[in-house]
């Protein structure tokens, strides 16, 4: 069991290495792929190191990263503050759902990006335009999954709580909200994915810092190596944040990650 896992990891690393070798071979001086279209791995690495220390279009790489993180986390967090309570409330009081849900259904099929031009017109190209687009992008998964979390709670648990003397408020706070936690962690992950990908587009369209801004400028300046650095950073940060959310499940909802023991 353990041995085959080690083998898997080794094979995976081997594959990554193989691809880097293929990449280096394809982009070697005089190779089949011109570096203008796809730079060599060592160029990308050198550019990464350089960007870490020296500013590129206004800021160093860490500052661009911080700019992106600030927008995405603000929009995602605000969406959580609205989406979780509203989603739970809509699942709990069906009249509220009947009133709010149709409007929500109207907005849902519109890709969050389509709001970018509107927010730019309304709010200018400052942070608030991007934050509100990220907010819209994250709100849908937050709200839908919060509703789902409540709906997927076994009715029997609510019955059990009633027979133990819990009133509606106690059931909502102690049974519903806690039992919903694992689903909310999944919601957080989906909302972040949606927010992160929308942010990149928003930064391409209107920003003065951030990884998407770096990418679009690099593309215009034909700095392909910078463009690849930006893309890799976007991917790595996405994976990193998703991983962090996964870890929170261990202390937010430890019961949901335990292996069941059956006899």
């Amino acid at each position: 069991m353990d041995q085959s896992r080690t083998l898997q990891v080794a094979a995976g690393l081997g594959a990554v290495l193989a691809w880097i070798v293929i990449w280096a071979w394809l982009t070697r001086p005089g190779g089949p792929v011109p570096t203008l279209y796809f730079p060599a791995p060592d160029d990308v690495w050198a550019k990464f190191v350089r960007m870490w220390q020296r500013p590129y279009i206004g800021s160093t790489l860490p500052n661009h990263i911080l700019a992106s993180l600030y927008i995405v986390l603000t929009g995602w967090g605000l969406a959580a503050l609205v989406g979780i309570p509203l989603g739970i409330a809509m699942a709990w009081w069906k009249r509220l759902k009947w009133i709010v849900f149709p409007t929500f259904q109207l907005i849902r099929p519109v890709p969050p990006l389509a709001w970018i031009p509107l927010t730019i017109l309304w709010l200018g190209i400052g942070d608030s335009a991007r934050i509100s687009v990220v907010f819209i992008a994250a709100l849908v998964p937050w709200l839908m999954n919060s509703m789902l979390a409540v709906y997927s709670i076994d009715r029997l648990l609510l019955d059990a709580a009633k027979t133990l003397g819990a009133n509606d408020r106690q059931i909502l706070t102690r049974v519903v909200c806690r039992t919903a936690l694992p689903t909310l962690v999944a919601a957080a992950r989906m909302a972040l994915g949606s927010a992160w990908s929308t942010l990149v587009a928003a930064e391409i369209l209107a920003a003065t810092a951030g990884l998407g801004y770096v990418a679009v400028n690099a593309s215009q300046l034909l700095d392909t190596d910078v463009l690849l650095v930006a893309m890799f950073m976007i991917g790595i940060l996405g994976i990193g944040m998703t991983g962090l959310i996964g870890l929170t499940q261990n202390w937010l909802a430890p019961w949901s990650v335990l292996g069941a023991r059956r006899d």
Partner: protein, 278 residues
């Protein structure tokens, strides 16, 4: 041995009319969906459970016996009829009527001790009292070493022990058990049946117990109510001997006793009629 047959409409065949029953289901009918169109689960059922009595309801699957339980607990409103506790309308569900569900219904986000203390916290029992009652129940149900475990870490039998402890810790006047051992394997079931028998003998709980197992009914019940197919009506009520030697020992021994065999045959015959006749 068969003492009262047919419906136990209040006042007709009631053998002891002096005190009101602890729990009385009076002329209960239940429709799911609009009356006359939806599903007719239970039709005009009346059951009285006296203080300290262990009543078992048996019937074929889907006969509405679980509906009787949810109505008795106050989780569903009956379409007709009423539920009385000590002769007064019972009202919404609450800790005087504790329920043990077939599928345990433990809160997955709470440890064993949190689950058991849940009802005490809901009803504002003092912290010291909570701890004392928790300790007592953990001891009775043999759960001391699992107090910090989550339900998902426990076997089905252990989970049902927690559920029973959670119901008993409320010191309920009435205990409602809805096929509590239906989801367990045969060995665990036997052990828990014996423990429930012992608890009832020692503490004289008032119990309404639903099952589809005839053996369980004969072993545990003071009286057995046999129900018809849907819509569930009461087919027969059978009085069983109380405090006889075979009911206080192991179920294994009891099932070899001639009296047990006789009752089992009689009740199984009644249930079988309902399953076979179409």
């Amino acid at each position: 041995m068969e003492q009262s047959a047919g419906k136990m409409a209040s006042g007709t065949t009631d053998p002891a009319p002096e005190a009101p029953a602890k729990l009385e289901l009076r002329n209960i009918s239940k429709w799911f969906g609009p009356e006359g169109e939806g599903v007719h689960a239970v039709d005009d059922c009346s059951i009285e459970v006296k203080k300290g009595e262990f009543i078992v309801v048996v019937g074929p699957s889907g006969c509405g016996k679980s509906t009787l339980m949810t109505v008795g607990a106050g989780l569903e409103e009956p379409t007709h009829g009423e539920v009385l506790v000590d002769g007064k309308p019972a009202g919404p569900p609450g800790p005087t009527r504790s329920v043990v569900f077939q599928k345990f219904a433990l809160f997955p986000s709470e440890t064993v001790e949190q689950n058991i203390k849940f009802g005490l916290q809901m009803t504002g029992v003092s912290a010291a009292e909570q701890e004392a009652r928790l300790a007592e129940q953990l001891k009775i149900m043999g759960l001391e070493q699992f107090r910090k475990s989550y339900p998902s870490e426990l076997s089905g039998g252990m989970q049902q022990r927690v559920a029973i402890a959670r119901a008993l810790v409320m010191q309920p006047e009435i205990l409602l058990m809805d096929e509590p051992f239906g989801a367990l394997d045969a060995q665990t079931r036997t052990i828990l049946q014996e423990e429930v028998q012992r608890l009832h003998r020692e503490k004289h709980y008032t119990v309404l117990f639903i099952t589809h197992s005839v053996e369980e009914a004969v072993y545990l019940g003071d009286r057995v109510v046999v129900m018809t197919r849907r819509p569930g009506r009461i087919k027969r009520v059978i009085e069983l001997p109380r405090d006889v030697a075979w009911k206080t020992g192991d179920i294994e021994l009891a099932s070899e006793h001639p009296e047990f065999i006789e009752f089992r045959r009689e009740i199984w015959g009644l249930v079988r009629e309902e399953i076979v006749s179409i």
